[in-house]
């Protein structure tokens, strides 16, 4: 039955770097070779950072840890496209972006080790705390984007979340508000295909997550999230639009969580080794290395020295973590209110007496 068309929805996908390290010349952005090397370096550092945390956890020196292996391209490209004046609003699996924004690695380690000081980021780093309640941070992305816009700052709010988090009502309310107020926001979905044991196909019947942007009158795009050039292009474009007051963008970065959900999870209960293998060949790190090598920007010697650098840097983070003195009981109380109310003074005094006595 013929009907008139009132809306045409098209969602595009961007890919630049293939599995063999070849780029689509037409789509490839202009990038200083040193910057591309920096992409690679950061990805390798971040993987080492992650591997070390897993090792620490097995040794009982770390709490629950959410690995990012396989997702480094999204995080490194986004962090490197951001300016100091941009705000980062992470979910809980963005430790690479956070470190590259300027939060010391040992602080991130401290957080997951269960130390309150793991949230004491350095002054001046525009970064929200980790958001554990899935999806809730999308709203803050809208709010901070609105804040920047109202103040006329040429800066963007970049907010992250997983594929699973798009099912929460807060995703909807956040992106919708951003659309209405044309906030300076970049919404980045790390679609790693799984929300703990729930695959994307059980999360939503929509063919892509990027197309959810049509619900909000907001531009949306899907990128190969294991292709650091594609992520770089999409994020840079979105950041420029946001900073210029052109409104929000929704980016779906398709990737894969190669590891367990967290160290408390056993992914083999719900997915096959074959599936993991199919994605392992798309790993963003060897892919970029192939590109570098093909373009004469990398060799085994450089790799070796990067490995050494990574080990040293990571070890320094562990050392700094383990050098932190224990927290005093006051740490439970001191940041509840601007001025501590009398009942908390009493409770704190009682605890101190107990600990000291």
């Amino acid at each position: 039955m013929p009907r008139t068309t009132v809306y045409e929805a098209v969602t595009q996908r961007l890919e630049i770097l293939d599995l063999d390290g070849q780029v689509d010349a037409e789509l490839m952005p202009e990038l200083d070779p040193n910057r591309i090397i920096e992409f690679y370096r950061n990805m390798v550092l971040m993987r080492a950072f992650d591997n070390k945390a897993l090792k620490l956890q097995r040794q009982g020196r770390m709490g629950t840890w959410p690995p990012i292996q396989g997702q480094e391209a999204i995080q490194v490209a986004t962090a490197m496209a951001m300016e100091e004046s941009d705000w980062l609003i992470p979910a809980f699996r963005e430790q690479a972006v956070m470190v590259l924004r300027g939060i010391p690695g040992h602080v991130i380690y401290a957080y997951w080790a269960g130390d309150e000081r793991g949230s004491a980021f350095p002054d001046g780093v525009r970064c929200f705390p980790i958001a554990v309640p899935v999806g809730s941070q999308w709203q803050h992305g809208a709010g901070v984007g609105l804040s920047l816009k109202l103040r006329g700052e040429q800066a963007a709010a970049v907010v992250f979340g997983g594929d699973g988090s798009t099912s929460e009502g807060d995703f909807h309310e956040g992106v919708n508000a951003a659309g209405v107020f044309k906030t300076n926001t970049v919404f980045v979905i790390q679609n790693n295909q799984w929300a703990i044991s729930v695959p994307l196909s059980k999360q939503t019947a929509s063919e892509t997550l990027a197309q959810k942007a049509h619900a909000y009158g907001v531009p949306g795009i899907q990128v190969d999230g294991n292709d650091i050039f594609a992520v770089h292009v999409a994020v840079t474009e979105a950041l420029e639009r946001a900073r210029a007051g052109g409104g929000p963008t929704l980016i779906e970065a398709e990737t894969y969580r190669l590891g367990d959900h967290t160290t408390a999870d056993d992914a083999s209960r719900y997915r096959s080794e074959e599936e993991v293998e199919q994605w392992r060949v798309k790993d963003p790190i060897p892919r970029l290395r192939k590109y570098l090598e093909a373009n004469g920007l990398w060799d085994d010697e450089r790799e070796k020295s990067l490995e050494d650098e990574a080990r040293e840097w990571v070890d320094a983070q562990v050392e700094a973590l383990e050098a932190m003195p224990p927290q005093p009981p006051e740490a439970i109380f001191e940041y509840m209110y601007d001025e501590m109310p009398p009942h908390l003074e009493e409770q704190m005094a009682a605890l101190k007496a107990e600990v000291e006595g």
Binding site: W87, I89, E116, R117, S119, A120, F121, D123, F128, P129, A131, P133, S136, W138, Q139, H140, G141, A142, G143, V144, G145, L146, S147, L148, L150, R151, A157, G169, D170, E173, G174, N176, A177, V180, F181, E334, Y335, M336, Y337, D338, P341, P342, H343
Partner: protein, 329 residues
């Protein structure tokens, strides 16, 4: 200070507080459903959009989690949002943003980031509206640290407490007793002034029994005190004004003096804030009590539709009866 005053209702005093603070502090924003062009369904934001424009008086989409989520983002980055939840009965969708974020931002960031925001919520019964428009959910917010919770009972306090709330560096839940929004007028200074958070007031002094309440119930206690006076019983009315921080000294001082107490609230009795008042008295004045503390509260039921709400709400006679019960124990 000009010292000029005007006779205002609570609703007008609330509006004036926002207007004055918006004039003084460019980071103060108002947002919520229908707060802009419409001036709020209770007219509590009347005229603000005309004076401050749509960038500071923001009509939001119909999404309470969104209103609070936006406010968290705004507050953490330099604004002082005053968010309106149209009726307290509709605060539930915002609970996650309020409890998981607004109340925890300071602690979670070790003081680096704060959420200086106010959430205004008309609450309570007495206006015969449809379902969900009469609720008093204060107790929901009082086992969750990180907020301040404030409830005025008259126009003077309403303005002064709201200004304190807007200036507070902590998130403040500001409950407005809609039943008495326009019930009476009082002289309210034109200029900005503050009433401190965390301090109760003795609305009426007495020696025999302490009637402890907040918001609209303060007036019910007042009426009860008058009836009791005629019967030779001298009742003291304690208007808590802040539920968190709680002015324990004033409560305990009054109960130590009278030896008897009645707590009055509209919310259901079980695990309402009245229980905490009793627990405080238990801890700090047990041996002064001449009789069990009485509670006059809503029933442990859903707040009924209009026809039966009069039966549901605490009233003067119930407070009088409870006070006499403490006298006759």
């Amino acid at each position: 200070m000009s010292g000029a005053t005007q006779r205002l209702t609570i609703a007008q005093a609330v509006r004036d507080a926002m207007r004055d603070e918006m004039r003084l502090d460019p980071t103060v924003l108002v947002l919520g459903e229908d707060v802009g062009v419409d001036g709020g369904v209770f007219r509590a934001t009347d005229g603000l959009i005309e004076e401050f424009g749509p960038e500071r008086v923001i009509d939001t989409p119909l999404a309470e989690s969104g209103i609070i989520g936006l406010s968290v983002g705004l507050a953490a980055t330099g604004f002082r949002p005053v968010a309106e939840i149209q009726f307290m009965g509709f605060v539930y969708p915002a609970i996650n943003q309020l409890f998981s974020h607004a109340a925890r931002m300071r602690n979670r960031t070790r003081g680096r980031m704060t959420t200086p925001m106010v959430v205004r919520m008309p609450y309570g019964g007495g206006i015969h509206p449809p379902e969900h428009h009469s609720e008093s959910y204060e107790s929901l917010f009082l086992n969750t640290p990180g907020f301040k919770v404030v409830v005025p009972s008259n126009p003077y306090d309403a303005k002064g407490l709201l200004i304190s709330a807007i200036r507070s560096n902590d998130p403040v839940l500001f409950m407005e007793p809609k039943r008495i929004y326009r019930a009476f007028r009082e002289e309210v200074p034109d200029e900005a002034y503050t009433v401190p958070l965390g301090s109760a007031s003795i609305a009426h002094t007495g020696d025999d029994v302490s009637l402890i309440a907040w918001g609209a119930m303060t007036r019910v206690c007042h009426d009860a005190a008058e009836v009791l006076a005629v019967q030779g019983i001298s009742a003291e009315v304690v208007d808590l004004r802040s539920l968190n921080p709680l002015d324990r000294d004033t409560i305990i001082g009054s109960v130590v003096k009278t030896g008897r107490a009645v707590v009055v609230h509209e919310a259901p009795k079980t695990n309402g804030f009245g229980a905490e008042i009793i627990a405080q008295i238990n801890e700090h004045a047990l041996m002064h009590l001449e009789a069990p503390v009485q509670r006059v509260c809503g029933f442990d039921t859903v707040f009924p539709l209009a026809h039966l709400e009069k039966l549901y709400l605490p009233n003067r006679d119930r407070v009088v009866a409870a006070a006499k019960k403490t006298m006759e124990y």
